[in-house]
Symmetry: C2
Subunit: 94 residues, 2 copies
Amino acid sequence: MIKVVAKNKLMNDKIEVVKSLYEELVNATRKEDGCIKYELYQDDKDATVLTMIEEWVDKDALDKHMKTEHFLKIVPMVGEFVIGNELNIYNKVF
Amino acid sequence: MIKVVAKNKLMNDKIEVVKSLYEELVNATRKEDGCIKYELYQDDKDATVLTMIEEWVDKDALDKHMKTEHFLKIVPMVGEFVIGNELNIYNKVF
């Protein structure tokens, strides 16, 4: 299993449009083979921070996800409204 | 439910000692009331990045956690070896 944390800092007035875009992405992604969890979170103190927290069976499943039609359509659209981002791919220690 | 992502960038030669300290913290924390998940992850490309990904029933449980003896003992010990950190507390969007 691998864990992904994709954290985005958004433009102040684009939070709701990004949530809508991410909703479409979440719904399509959860149907993919190898997707264990794909959930969107919002920072408790800073509403402009939206973070996808993901679990995949392996890196191959994640690679395939990043080549899907929905990923390649929606992620660049979200990117228009992002002013900072961090992506970490993690292995579990314990 | 609230989600916590506590990301630490460590000194290069302190990864193993921090893992040991965190192992003790994980074992004690998982016994706390209100702790749903408390897991340590290591970045796939940068071994000096260790991140705790947590789930708590509510913020009250998280607040209590941060006042426990094990938290107050171990977190400052880890802090000696941390060169950068980020803490986000998240609410689920979907």
